[in-house]
């Protein structure tokens, strides 16, 4: 297996072992970045330092590719099952999809008390997409990057980094949470009016004579929602992936039982984080649909 080969390699170079492990971890933590080099040319970054030097004008090709691929696979699969759904005795696959659908539906029905046809599909997408992206973390750390390096070798790109878990990229998680934030703002303004929304910020929880204190409390609360929503998912998945990397880099031949134990722990975190993201989306959108209080 790839990890045993790497472990043997690292153990053999005992003199420079710290450096090897450091390089291994840094290699696995950097993205396949396509962007603008400091001298103005566009291309793939060859080292992590080059990737950092590209700054804002760069895109993480591996993350974008995997997230779009996983999202498309999920949508196509659910559509396939949905088109062939029968109200007769359901097949196994239809049962499976229906159980996921009913789970999300029960959560949305209990948490969201207003009429909006977009919330259900949004929460289903968020839940299943995040679960599928998180599950990429359970594939052993070296397998997919080694395949990518072998394929990239055809184009001379053997040393490119390749990260397969999109939710360890804060771009993806913050992208999702900022989209939810825009939905919160849009529905807040639509249901309360712009004046109602701003007066809720200004006049809650104290009266209008405490306006500065209200704003100091309400505005960070408002912005903490997308930041915490995105960073919670990112932090959990990044820590999980980093622990896999540390186990495979540092433990030599004893990594297989440790990998197994940590994977079992991680199996709890994977759907839990998707569930938490979905529940918070429901709760925030529910609060956004509440009509403004008339007595302020």
């Amino acid at each position: 297996m790839a990890e045993l080969a790497d472990a043997a390699h690292a153990a053999a170079e005992h003199g420079a072992e710290g450096q090897t492990v450091q390089e291994y971890i840094t290699h696995h933590l950097s993205y396949l970045t396509y962007g603008k080099f400091p001298d103005g040319q566009w291309g793939l970054a060859h080292t992590p330092e080059e990737a950092v030097s590209m700054g804002f004008m760069s895109i993480h090709v591996d993350t974008m590719g995997w997230s779009v691929f996983i999202g498309a696979a999920f949508l196509l699969f659910f559509r396939y099952v949905g088109l062939r759904a029968t109200s007769d005795v359901p097949s196994g696959i239809q049962n499976f999809v229906e159980s996921i659908f009913e789970f999300v539906e029960s959560q949305v029905n209990s948490g969201f008390n207003y009429k909006n046809p977009h919330v259900g599909p949004l929460c289903l997408t968020v839940f299943v997409w995040i679960i599928l992206m998180n599950m990429m973390d359970l594939v052993p750390v070296d397998w997919l990057p080694e395949i990518a390096m072998a394929v990239g070798g055809l184009w001379g790109l053997e040393h490119m980094s390749f990260k397969v878990v999109p939710t360890t990229d804060p771009n993806i998680t913050m992208g999702m949470s900022i989209s939810v934030f825009f939905l919160i703002l849009y529905y807040s303004v639509k249901n309360k009016g712009l004046g109602g929304f701003l007066s809720e910020l200004a006049f809650h929880p104290f009266g209008k004579w405490m306006l500065p204190f209200n704003l100091i409390i309400e505005i960070p609360t408002l912005f903490a929602k997308p930041v915490s929503l995105g960073l919670r998912l990112f932090g959990n998945m990044y820590a999980g992936e980093l622990l896999f990397l540390l186990i495979s880099g540092l433990l030599g031949a004893y990594q297989l039982p440790a990998h197994f134990v940590w994977a079992v722990f991680h199996l709890l975190v994977v759907p839990l984080q998707a569930f938490v993201f979905m529940m918070l989306t429901i709760v925030y959108l529910n609060a956004a649909h509440e009509p403004a209080h008339g007595d302020h």
Binding site: S228, R232, F234, G235, Y238, A239, F275, M279
Partner: protein, 85 residues
């Protein structure tokens, strides 16, 4: 440079340690309340369990953010970059 590295190590350890402390105490109180509640009303246990997992995910949040920041400082220390540049 050694001073920056040494202090970074201490800082990362504090972030991880205090995060772990807070999370452990929070989970302990949460689990204890769940056990108490489900002992009082066993028929509510599934609903309580679902809510417990939700709150557990929320308690983990800032700790995980701290871990992410700690790992960033360990492997890509921005203060070293300032020294070099």
């Amino acid at each position: 440079m050694e001073l920056i590295l040494a202090n970074t190590v201490l800082g990362v350890l504090l972030v991880l340690g205090m995060g772990a402390l807070g999370t452990a105490i929070g989970f302990g109180i949460l689990g204890g309340k769940f056990l108490e509640g489900s002992a009082r009303q066993p028929e509510l246990a599934p609903k309580l369990q679902a809510s417990m997992f939700l709150v557990a995910g929320l308690i983990d949040a800032v700790t995980m953010i701290g871990i992410g920041i700690g790992m960033w400082f360990t492997f890509a220390n921005p203060y070293l970059g300032q020294l070099a540049g």
